[in-house]
């Protein structure tokens, strides 16, 4: 059995906190700049998911921060697929929130932006997957749409 793939946790957390800081700054500054900052955060999330050079915070961590010893590199095996999906979703929602601010729907725009911001901050701080939590609670109550369910659970080799 080959070793499980490991990922740079430091770069992931730096990226997540930078995105949360960007959204918080957007809220604090307000006005047109808020929509621009939210759009930047959404673009980095969405574009960086599919094209690594656009993942500017990770690039900064890999090229400058870790080599300079400012932050230590920490590698570990972790869930990658769910985070990629969440990243694409979060990026799309932040871009939509920027659009909602532009068309003068700030309450709805900030509600969506903050919901994603909370999810990102929870993952960055305590590795808590909010999406997983919501899905389990819905499934436990029989409220999860069939579309969101996957194939029957995979068995673990040798499980009792």
């Amino acid at each position: 059995m080959t070793d499980l793939p490991t990922y740079d946790i430091t770069a992931r957390k730096a990226h997540q906190w930078a995105m949360v800081a960007l959204v918080a700054s957007a809220f604090a500054i307000g006005g047109t700049a808020a929509a621009v900052l939210l759009a930047i955060a959404g673009t980095v999330m969405l574009l960086g998911r599919f094209w690594w050079p656009a993942d500017i915070v990770r690039q900064l961590v890999w090229r400058v921060i870790e080599p300079a010893g400012i932050l230590p590199r920490h590698e570990a095996h972790e869930d990658r697929e769910t985070r990629r999906l969440a990243r694409a979703l979060g990026g799309a929602i932040w871009l939509s929130s920027a659009g909602l601010l532009v068309v003068n729907l700030p309450f709805v725009g900030w509600a969506f932006a903050f919901a994603i911001g909370i999810m990102v901050a929870l993952d960055a701080s305590v590795d808590f997957c909010t999406l997983c939590f919501v899905c389990v609670q819905l499934e436990h109550r029989g409220l999860l749409p069939g579309l969101l369910r996957h194939a029957p659970g995979r068995r673990i080799a040798g499980e009792a």
């Binding site: 059995m1 070793d3 499980l4 918080a24 809220f27 604090a28 500054i29 307000g30 570990a76 095996h77 972790e78 869930d79 990658r80 697929e81 769910t82 999906l85 903050f114 909370i118 901050a121 929870l122 701080s125 305590v126 590795d127 808590f128 997957c129 997983c132 939590f133 899905c135 389990v136 609670q137 499934e139 436990h140 999860l144 969101l148 369910r149 996957h150 194939a151 029957p152 659970g153 995979r154 068995r155 673990i156 080799a157 040798g158 499980e159 009792a160």
Partner: protein, 149 residues
């Protein structure tokens, strides 16, 4: 702007308090599970402790992390410690409300680690790496940790 900064600060404080409350609850759950008699937990599971350490994985059909990361991590634990040295139970949390209630499961994946004599030694909300589970198994029992961990 000051008003918005204050709002952000209050929001951050509220979130921190929420995280601390959830963590406190998790600690209480573990200490209750540790101190409670173990046989009822095993009865709900429909099994008995047999001297080997055990891992219960709570997953659901909607849990992508369970399939992509948690199951491979548990398979790695079994591979490193010996296929027959650790018992593994994969429980579908959506179809076993009795177990979900008994183990106070909030999310998936959740892994509960048992010592060989059937005591709960660790409880992981969310993904737990192979290294972490191996450490937890070693902490709670006399199981040798393989080199490199």
């Amino acid at each position: 702007m000051l008003e918005r900064l204050l709002l952000l600060f209050a929001f951050a404080m509220l979130m921190t308090a929420g995280i601390l409350a959830v963590r406190t609850r998790a600690v209480r759950v573990v200490s209750r599970l540790r101190s409670a008699p173990t046989s009822p937990l095993w009865e709900v599971l429909g099994e008995r402790a047999d001297g080997r350490p055990a891992i219960i994985l709570f997953s659901t059909s909607s849990c992508a992390v369970c399939k992509s990361a948690q199951i491979p991590a548990i398979e790695m634990v079994r591979h490193k410690l010996g296929e027959s040295s650790v018992r593994v139970f994969n429980v579908d949390a959506a179809t076993r409300p009795d177990l979900v209630k008994a183990f106070r499961i909030m999310t998936a994946p959740t892994t509960v680690v048992f010592t060989g004599d059937g005591r709960v030694t660790a409880y992981n909300h969310g993904f737990a790496s192979a290294e972490r589970i191996i450490q937890q198994l070693a902490t709670g029992s006399v199981l040798a940790v393989p080199r490199g961990h």
